[in-house]
């Protein structure tokens, strides 16, 4: 987005947009799988989903996920 609006290069968004969409879909799929497998509960799903929309929320959730993995 900075390249589109600050450097007048919309091609970057055309290229990275679909890649970003695929990455997000894959992320959601893994969250759903982990829920189905019982590795995280409904609150964990909500936390990961909301964290995906907050800038740098992934960094906080990454630490939480590491703690969860150590528990299992």
């Amino acid at each position: 987005m900075p390249l589109k609006y600050w450097a007048d290069t919309p091609q970057a968004v055309a290229l990275m947009g679909p890649a970003h969409g695929m990455a997000f879909l894959t992320f959601l799929w893994f969250v759903a799988r982990s829920w189905g497998e019982g590795l995280i509960n409904g609150l964990g799903v909500l936390r990961l989903f909301i964290g995906a929309f907050i800038p740098f929320g992934g960094l906080v959730n990454e630490r939480w996920l590491r703690n969860q993995a150590e528990k299992h």
Binding site: A14, G21, L25, L28, W29, F30, W35, G36
Partner: protein
């Protein structure tokens, strides 16, 4: 021609994806431990790649056809997200059943198959009618 080929590839991937999902949903409803491990292997080798290809070809169709500004595609993407989420839940339950090993898991009575059928119907209706 390229658009028609992409559309064919998108539909083939979708059929394989939904077929694999149906097999897992039925297997979880009538669990038999011998079926679970082969289904898990099939899902990893065929169904999940088919899902990724269906999504990839769908994005390519949207870009080629310039559909991303259309309202129906926005609605369709939301329903596709639900369908992909259902597949994720199914695979998670399947992995749980395989990892349990000792005995067949309890029969899954969740309405995933019905919800998936509704999602698929809405997806096809939105894509074919393009109502808004």
């Amino acid at each position: 021609m390229l658009y028609a080929l992409t559309k064919a590839a998108h539909l083939i991937s979708l059929f394989v994806w939904v077929g694999g999902m149906t097999a897992v949903a039925i297997a979880l409803r009538h669990p038999a431990i011998l079926h679970m491990a082969p289904l898990k292997r099939y899902d990893r080798a065929v169904t999940t790649p088919a899902m990724l290809l269906a999504l990839l070809f769908g994005i390519l169709l949207g870009v080629q056809g310039g559909w991303f500004t259309s309202g129906w595609l926005g609605a369709k993407i939301v329903v596709v997200l639900v369908l992909a989420g259902l597949h994720g839940v199914l695979v998670g339950k399947l992995r749980h059943a395989v990892n349990a090993k000792a005995k067949p898991a309890a029969a899954d009575s969740s309405p995933i198959l019905a919800i998936g059928g509704v999602c698929l119907s809405v997806i096809v209706l939105l894509a074919s009618l393009k109502p808004f």
